[in-house]
Amino acid sequence: MIVDYSVGHTGSVHDSWAFRSTRTFREHEHIFGAGEWMWADSAYPSEMWSVSPFKKPARGELDHDQKTFNYHLSKVSKIHNEFRPFGSCYRFVFVSSMQLDC
């Protein structure tokens, strides 16, 4: 279920910057209780309330624990793949609702 969204940044904007426009970012103190967090991919900031996978450093490799962590994290965020194909489906809906706003 979609709980929050933000639309309107240009396509060239990085995910982590566009994410700052969402209500989740601005009101994260209220949305996340003590010890609660959200899952994100490595484009998003790492915060107390935002958990993203380890990024491979410019030189060197991830160690074993980091790889294990990323492996299990990818399981919990596998919904990514289910969500993405709907992009083209949403496209038209979005454009028509934008026309109505004008």
Partner: protein, 298 residues
């Protein structure tokens, strides 16, 4: 060159307009003014619409130059000054009537050159067949299962946008929703109003109106569909995470991701800013989900 074209265009338009007015006026004058005396000044008629009308009006009766009432009375009637005022009254009444009739024609002419209707063939009946015999084809066309479709119709059919207080009823809601879903499930040319109109056998204008109405009706459910999770939804999401990974991770109940909606073409304003990492022009969308009711419909 351009000036010539413009002149030619103007002349053609004037000619067409003149033809219409001439035919309308001849209809009117043959039916309405058989007994009353028509008095029209040539010069006034000429300045009235900057087109030449005397050809039409001469067939109608007298032409009296009102600039010279003496000669007018001498040719038509030898009575006293009293009849001149009658002429004038007749003249103004006629003039106003014609003016109103002309205005009526101008205001109610919708199509200048009527064209033959565009042949179309509705394929909507196939949906009923597919619903019964092959739901996967129904799903491929409208991108929702028949049950979801029925549910959506139930959700939106009571919205006031579908009820106009008129004798001309709208299309049934399920047809309007079919048209909307067909467009939402296609992109490019296929989702254009023309293609949708040919598929559904209705007019282009009806396709656009149906789409707008359905979007309005769906948006009225926005806050019910998209809202922060309550305790029950949060708990279900946590249970899902616990099941997939481990109990220690169950408090991560939310998922953030971004997606992009590609544009049809490069926007005119700040075009380069819309260029994304995938090489397309798109607008960004950030979405936060909870793991609950994973079937994303619409």
């Amino acid at each position: 060159m351009l000036e010539e074209l413009r002149q030619h265009h103007l002349t053609t338009q004037r000619q067409r307009f003149q033809d219409r007015v001439a035919s309308a006026l001849s209809d009117v004058s043959s039916s309405g003014t058989s007994d009353s005396m028509s008095v029209v000044s040539e010069s006034d008629a000429g300045s009235f619409m900057s087109i030449d009308m005397p050809d039409i009006l001469t067939s109608d009766g007298f032409i009296i130059d009102t600039d010279n009432p003496a000669s007018a009375t001498s040719t038509s009637d030898s009575d006293s000054l009293h009849s001149i005022s009658n002429f004038e009254i007749d003249y103004y009444i006629n003039w106003e009537r014609r003016y109103r009739e002309l205005l009526d024609i101008i205001q109610h002419t919708r199509v200048l050159r009527p064209a033959p209707p565009i042949p179309k063939c509705s394929q909507l009946h196939l949906l009923d067949h597919w619903r019964a015999y092959s739901p996967e084809r129904f799903c491929r066309k409208l991108r929702v299962a028949p049950e979801t479709f029925d549910h959506l119709v139930n959700k939106i059919e009571n919205h006031p946008i579908f009820h106009n207080n008129s004798n001309n009823h709208q299309l049934p809601v399920h047809i309007q929703l079919s048209i909307f879903l067909f467009r939402a499930g296609h992109y490019g040319n296929s989702s254009s109003p023309e293609d949708t109109a040919q598929w559904s056998g209705i007019s282009v204008g009806a396709v656009e109106k149906s789409t707008d109405r359905v979007v309005i009706a769906l948006l009225s459910h926005h806050d019910q569909a998209i809202h922060l999770p309550d305790a029950v939804e949060k708990e279900k999401s946590k249970a899902y995470v616990e099941e997939v990974v481990c109990p220690e991770w169950r408090d991560g109940f939310l998922l953030a991701d971004g997606s992009k909606f590609p544009f049809y073409q490069r926007p005119g304003l700040h075009g380069d800013a819309w260029f994304d990492k995938d090489g397309a022009y798109s607008i960004d969308c950030q979405v936060n989900l909870i793991y609950y009711d994973l079937c994303i419909c619409i």
